[in-house]
Symmetry: C2
DNA sequence: CCTAAATGTCAAGTATACTTTACATAAAGA
DNA sequence: TCTTTATGTAAAGTATACTTGACATTTAGG
């Protein structure tokens, strides 16, 4: 998965900590998602979509390649 | 989370097994999601959205209540 | 009624998405 | 330079999302 989280957060001038609090996860979780260590859960992705006013699939996109998530 | 998976699948006259194969998971996973035992991962939710031609947040909705996913 | 297909569910194992704590580094300002 | 803030990362633990295999129940058709 690719994601536009870092950019969207920067547009709002929010720190990772600030964003984390807004969606109810830890700062490290936000960092891990931005640096693509793992994908957010679906509920978290939906919360982020609501917060940034973007559809989920606009923020998070599957990799082109065949199999791997 | 609530989801409209069972209805959408029925509209296409697909079995759980058929749907599972199309999105690359086990039949039991589809069943567990339809019966709301757990939420799909984000990549799976996006695949399902593509397959049914629906935005993710139209297929899967956060619970009204405060905290729990 | 009998059978087969579809669905529901359980158990046990693995992978992924988190948590907290901790520490290293880079940038910005006094 | 010293300190503060933001970020990156790691380890260890827990919760959740899957897997396969098995079996019970429901549904549809003969």
């Amino acid at each position: 998965m690719k994601n536009r989280l870092k950019v969207l957060r920067a547009e709002q001038n929010w720190t990772q900590e600030e964003l984390a609090q807004r969606v109810g996860v830890s700062r490290q979780a936000i960092n891990a998602i931005e640096t693509e260590k793992y994908d957010p859960s679906l509920p978290l992705a939906i919360k982020l979509g609501k917060l940034f006013g973007k559809p989920v699939e606009e923020m998070f996109a599957l990799d082109e390649n065949t199999d791997h998530g």
